[in-house]
Amino acid sequence: MTDADLEHGLAALPESDPSVGVGRFRRRAAQAGLLDVAYAVTDSPLGPLAVFVTPRGLVRVAYQGEPIDEVVADVAARVSPRLLLAPEQTDAIRRELDAYFARRLESFSVPIDWTLVRGFARGVLHATAAIPFGQVTTYGHLAEAAGSPRAARAAGNALGSNPIPIVVPCHRVLHAGGGLGGYTGGLDRKRILLRIEGVLTD
């Protein structure tokens, strides 16, 4: 056999499919407790949603519009670089979101991982998480609930940086005058959510 034959034989190795090995790896990583963050993208009436789950709970929900690569990189930097696309680890939250949008579920029961929320914002978002389905409050009331009655604007900022929209229902917070206020995902999405909950009617 000549060198050329040898080289030709070696080069003839066909392309191969890594998906089986990668799939086994993903499952084993989760079993071994090495998967710090699992994420998946799921469809919703508000467009695709990226959901990120840690062993402690739901840590991030991102609307399309925030570039997914940047969100993934940000979560990796702030939570852990041991982050994988692993839809099977996000089943619980995806099922609940589906049920919520189908109007079969009013309150989410998946645990929340508050790692991405610090300081005053944590108090504000804790208070937000307690607002029941179909009810609304104002930025001022929320600031009061978080222990700083005069910090309505700071409360607004905290809501604007809510890393877990929908599940931590910042869409249930409105302006004192009755205006919709703002929303991370845009006011159209806020309107859809408030319609689902019967707060707004067409």
């Binding site: 056999m1 080069a11 190795l13 990668v22 084993r28």
Partner: protein
Amino acid sequence: MQLPPFQTLVDRHAAELHRFLVALVGIPDADDCLQETLMAALRTYPGLTDASNLRAWLFTIAQRKATDAVRRSRRRPTVALDGHDSPVDPHDMTDEALWRAVRGLPPRQRAAVVHRFVFDLAYRQIGERLGCTEVAARRSVHDGLASLRRVVDR
């Protein structure tokens, strides 16, 4: 230090790592070797102090896993339980003898030959992947090819 999400490494390198492993250990063992490689990488990932060449880091681990697999398969009995000798061609290709010979090479030569001829890499790149000089990479490819020729022609 800012490490990219591990998923990015999987997206960028899994296909190439798998092909590398198919060349080194054959199709049936490549899936497991890939899994082992990624597990080992994920385990030590947060502690990495140098993220400048993650690809080379992954290939080094893959090469080590392949060496373990080859060692294990040599210990495995080759005669099937029903008494029939049923050699399975791990590459599902005609050059069975060639690939068996590749797996018989010393690890460094084996990896060098695969990088050179399967992936068509230049010696400088092979050196980077194997963590050696361009000259050493060239020598490994040359020596590997020479022993392949000896084995295959026998």
